[in-house]
Structure formats: structure tokens, C-alpha cells
């Protein structure tokens, strides 16, 4: 992070312990909140969007107090925010910094694009295996069709 970015980031108050999700594309901030189910998070949650970023133009940031995500949980957001970085904060210090990774399997959050797929016609959850991480292609466990970036929608 450049000094300028750190300064800008201070506009959102610091947290003592927890996780900072940085470098989220501005338009994906609310999607990330939805995917991580943060709307129901009982602790302090700080959200900022349309912050200036040298790297991305506009970015969003989410700070979740007292929450440390398990990898499967957090990697889901890589589908909407592949650029996102995770910063683990302990006692106001950055203890770990990492890039989100696209997982091998995607559960629940993505809708199968095929209208005739059983997942779109029965009360059940979706499950995909990721067959191409670069171009983001997901194969539905049920209808076996490929949902790709251009026809991907989220629940």
C-alpha cells in the first residue's frame, strides 16, 4: 500500500482486531456483503465505497471487527472481487495480508444459467466445480452445463 492510500484509508476508522477486505471494485461492495452474509453480522462493520485508489481508480473497503474468515468462506468473494486483498488485524497491527483466490468449488451463491436446470426449479442449493479460474467457468454439478462470467448471476 502506498502512503497516500494509507492516509485515504484512515477515513474509515481503524479496527483493533478483525479483517479488512481491501481493493474491492466499488460496484461489487454490496455483492461482497451479500455473499459473506454480513448484513446479519452482529458486530461492528465498517463499509466504504468510491474511495480513490491509485491501483483501481475507485475502490471499496470493508472492515469486519472481531471476525477472521476461514478460506472457503472468503474465497467466494473472488468471483465478484478477484482483486480483493485480505488484511488480518490483531492489536491494530497488520499480521497477515493475502490475495483472495478463486476456490475449486462454488456452493450456494451462484445461480445456474440454465433455466431448465433442476436447481432453478426445486428448492435446493447450487454447487459448481470451477473448471477455468482465469476465464471463470463453472460446471453445474446437476445439469453439467457451464455458467461463465458473462451469464453469471448471484443469489
Amino acid at each position: 500500500m502506498s502512503k497516500k492510500e494509507i492516509r485515504k484509508e484512515l477515513k474509515v476508522s481503524a479496527i483493533e482486531n478483525g479483517t479488512v477486505i481491501d481493493h474491492i471494485p466499488s460496484h461489487s461492495v454490496f455483492q461482497v456483503i451479500r455473499i459473506l452474509n454480513l448484513a446479519e453480522y452482529p458486530n461492528q462493520l465498517l463499509v466504504a465505497t468510491n474511495l480513490e485508489s491509485q491501483k483501481m481508480g475507485k475502490k471499496g473497503i470493508i472492515k469486519v471487527r472481531n471476525k477472521f474468515f476461514v478460506p472457503q468462506e472468503i474465497n467466494k468473494i473472488a468471483l465478484v472481487a478477484p482483486s480483493a486483498t485480505l488484511i488480518i488485524i490483531k492489536d491494530f497491527n497488520v499480521t497477515e495480508k493475502k490475495q483472495v483466490k478463486i476456490p475449486n468449488q462454488v456452493e450456494k451463491i451462484v445461480k445456474c444459467f440454465n433455466p431448465n436446470c433442476i436447481t432453478n426449479n426445486e428448492e435446493m442449493e447450487t454447487l459448481f466445480s470451477v473448471i477455468d479460474k482465469k476465464d471463470l467457468k463453472l460446471r453445474c454439478r446437476y445439469c453439467e452445463k457451464i455458467t461463465a462470467k458473462n451469464n453469471m448471476t448471484f443469489f
Binding site: 445456474c112 440454465n114 431448465n116 436446470c117 433442476i118 436447481t119 426449479n121 426445486e122 428448492e123 435446493m124 453445474c140 454439478r141 446437476y142 445439469c143 453439467e144 452445463k145 457451464i146
Partner: protein, 303 residues
């Protein structure tokens, strides 16, 4: 294979495919054996398919199993708005194995997750129909004496035909040379061709049917449906160029056999039926032996 569901052709390994073909051969020699008398087989046809249902029911009956089920959606709980989950859970209490056909893609995989008994997929929408693939493998091995190193021609709608896709994928294990004959708009999708390339096998694409006749050991015919064309004129242009006629077979190899998943419309002329190369009706009969082999191995009475 005991208690294993068969949803997609790849749920069974190539070795298991061969085991099923070998067993089917035994049932062909002796089709009536009362080895499933202890068992109840359910056939759930959420969409009608008389041909496939009767083939399964004939297979089960010849082995002495008792049958329950329904043959059309009007008589099902689906009509009353019951979820597939609840229907399958209920019927898995009443039976030892469920054969199902359903118009939604992925329905059979989902059923196998909620069922307490194994499921055989008899067609889930446009997705999979693995027993058709196995009976095609059986028919080809039986007529050619082998599965390896064959020249197989697929003709017609190669884009939407699930039968073709599964069979092409199954034959990628057997050093096959593929000859793909279709209108430009109905070419084999690249998602299937990739499997051929992965195995470093060869395929040739054609728009004329006559070209492939002298090269083929097997010609696998499929129907071209009018609905597949956005412009009806495009359909008119191609509809007669993918019809196999008797005189076209003059320069065929002597071992050539013609297959078709049936029902046919007009893509094989009636005059071909009497030619010894026509195999499509026997092919359908082979389906009974394949289904006997599957029922017996999944129910665990043979191994």
C-alpha cells in the same frame, strides 16, 4: 457397482462399462432368469417415453422383479405440486432401485442425493441418458467384435444430440477416428471436441453424407429437428441432404453397420431397413440386455 447410481456415463469407469457389456452378453444368451424376485424396481417417468420405459420394464420383468411406478406426469404427484425431493424420498421407501426420466436437467443427480436407494437415469432433459450410451457401445462391440480402432461416423444434429455427445466421449477411450457429418449450424460443440483433442485422436468434419460411407465401420444417424433452425429456410436447405438411402451404401465396407437411437423420422430411407447393414432395430433390443445387466449389478446379485 452394487448400490451405485448411474446418472452420467462417466459415473462408471471404462472397466465398469466393459463389465456391463460382458454381463449383457450373458443375459442375451439367457434373457429369462428369476434372479431379482426379491426386489421392487420403481420406474418413474415424469415425462413420457414409452420406448425407454418398456425396455426397462421388460428387463426387470424377465429377471422376476416386481415393478411399481408411473408413466406420465398427469398421474404423478408432480401435478399436485409435490417437490421432486419428497417424491423420491417417498418412493425410495417402497422400492430397491429407481429408474427415472425427468424433463429437467440435473434432476437425476439431485434424486441420487436425496434417495436411499440407487437411481438409474433414463434421461434428464437434454443432459444425460447413460443406458443409451451403454447399449450403443454394446451394439458396436457386438457387430465389430471390438471397440478399439474403429472409424465411426456421426450424422445429423451433432450440436444438440446428447446421445452423440455421450457416445463420442465414451469412444475417446478406444482410439477411435471420428467422422462428423452435419450442417454447419449443427456442428459438434467445442466442449465435446475438446475431449477428442485431449486424447490426441483425430476427427474429420464434413457437410456431405456420401463422402463418409466408404470410410465408416459404423454410421450413427440422428434426426435433424426443424425447431433447431431459427430460419425455416435453412432447415429446408439441409433437410434432405442428411437422408441415408440404400443406393448410397454400394461402396460401403462389408462390416459397416447403421445405428440410430430411434425414433427415426425420414433420415434413414425405408429401403435401407432390409439391407443387412441396418442394425437399428436390433440395437433397440440390445437395450433390454444392457438394462438387465445394470439392474442385476446395481442390485448386487451379480458382481
Amino acid at each position: 457397482m452394487k448400490n451405485k447410481s448411474l446418472i452420467s456415463i462417466n459415473d462408471f469407469t471404462p472397466e465398469e462399462h466393459i463389465r456391463i457389456l460382458d454381463l449383457a452378453e450373458e443375459f442375451e444368451r439367457q434373457p429369462t432368469q428369476r434372479i431379482l424376485e426379491e426386489f421392487v424396481v420403481a420406474t418413474l417417468f415424469f415425462e413420457p417415453s414409452t420406448r425407454t420405459r418398456l425396455s426397462f420394464e421388460s428387463a426387470a420383468s424377465r429377471l422376476g422383479a416386481r415393478l411399481i411406478g408411473f408413466s406420465e406426469p398427469a398421474s404423478t404427484s408432480l401435478q399436485k405440486g409435490e417437490s421432486l425431493r419428497d417424491t423420491i424420498r417417498t418412493i425410495s421407501n417402497y422400492s430397491d432401485l429407481i429408474v427415472m426420466r425427468h424433463p429437467r436437467e440435473g434432476s437425476a443427480r439431485f434424486a441420487s442425493e436425496v434417495s436411499t436407494v440407487p437411481i438409474i437415469n433414463a434421461g434428464d432433459g437434454a443432459n444425460q441418458h447413460p443406458t443409451q450410451t451403454l447399449l450403443d457401445l454394446y451394439s458396436i462391440r457386438k457387430t465389430q467384435g471390438k471397440l478399439d480402432n474403429l472409424n465411426i461416423a456421426f450424422v445429423g444434429d451433432l450440436k444438440y444430440g446428447r446421445t452423440v455427445h455421450s457416445l463420442v466421449m465414451a469412444f475417446c477411450n478406444y482410439n477411435t477416428t471420428f467422422h462428423l457429418v452435419s450442417p454447419v449450424a449443427l456442428k459438434l460443440p467445442s466442449s465435446v471436441k475438446i475431449h477428442i483433442k485431449d486424447k490426441k485422436l483425430t476427427y474429420h468434419q464434413y457437410t456431405e453424407l456420401q463422402e463418409i460411407v466408404p470410410k465408416a465401420d459404423i454410421i450413427y444417424m440422428t434426426r435433424i429437428q426443424k425447431e433447431r433452425f431459427s430460419d425455416p429456410l435453412d432447415y429446408e436447405k439441409v433437410k434432405n441432404s442428411y437422408v441415408l438411402k440404400k443406393q448410397m451404401l454400394e461402396d460401403a465396407k462389408p462390416n459397416l453397420k447403421i445405428l440410430h437411437p430411434l425414433p427415426r423420422v425420414n433420415e434413414i430411407a425405408i429401403d435401407v431397413d432390409s439391407n443387412p447393414m441396418a442394425y437399428y432395430f436390433t440395437q433397440a433390443l440390445n437395450g433390454v440386455f444392457i438394462r438387465q445387466a445394470l439392474l442385476a449389478s446395481i442390485l448386487g446379485v451379480v458382481s
